[in-house]
């Protein structure tokens, strides 16, 4: 059973389109994250939700909107896609205040053409 699953694994789309990436975790964790790994290979935090509440919102363009319908799901919607949005997006989960690190999904490779 996959602990943190993301769909789709690959996404190729044209500039200007709107797309969503879905994430689900079955670990019972209360906190979920979106990280972006760009072409320079940095893994950078974008958003974090704890029990459906947004707790971290880094300087990310407004075109990116996370949504957490419940604590097991965190989706990422991106409007008006740009070439620079091409990256690998990783979802992760953890239990807040428990320091065992995050469990990551396998990533979604987004290519904007």
């Amino acid at each position: 059973d996959t602990a943190v699953s993301q769909t789709p694994k690959y996404l190729v789309t044209q500039m200007g389109n709107d797309k969503s990436i879905k994430c689900e975790q079955n670990l019972g964790h209360d906190t979920m994250y979106w990280y972006k790994q760009d072409s320079k290979k940095f893994l950078k935090i974008m958003f974090s939700y704890n029990n459906k509440e947004l707790i971290i919102n880094e300087t990310v363009p407004n075109r990116f909107s996370p949504k957490s319908p419940d604590k097991a799901h965190l989706n990422l919607h991106i409007n008006s896609l740009e070439l620079g949005d091409s990256a690998v997006y990783f979802c992760a989960s953890s239990q807040l205040h428990v320091n065992y690190g995050y469990t990551f999904g396998s990533g979604t490779r987004l290519t904007v053409v």
Binding site: K40, K41, K44, I56, L96, N99, G101, Y102, S106, G107
Partner: protein
Amino acid sequence: DQQVKQNSPSLSVQEGRISILNCDYTNSMFDYFLWYKKYPAEGPTFLISISSIKDKNEDGRFTVFLNKSAKHLSLHIVPSQPGDSAVYFCAARIYSAGNTPLVFGKGTRLSVIA
């Protein structure tokens, strides 16, 4: 501004020898450090961690050393095995501050040669 730096993008080691991966950080508020391992087309997986109150943590073939005064940590893998070939990310956080996220370095690609 890179708060966590892994200055070696790649490292090659012979099977059976020691692999040493290094990481430096700039934020003195970091109090918890982790190493993650990543295979191609997979997400990073947690490997080992260390709290700032310790200077060493060992788990089987993996040992992490922390030098707070130098703001430096290292991961030792002994003996190295071909299956250890992967990208290793160093990460840090301010655990005492609660909701702060993990901050990652750029990673070091380890190749273990049989």
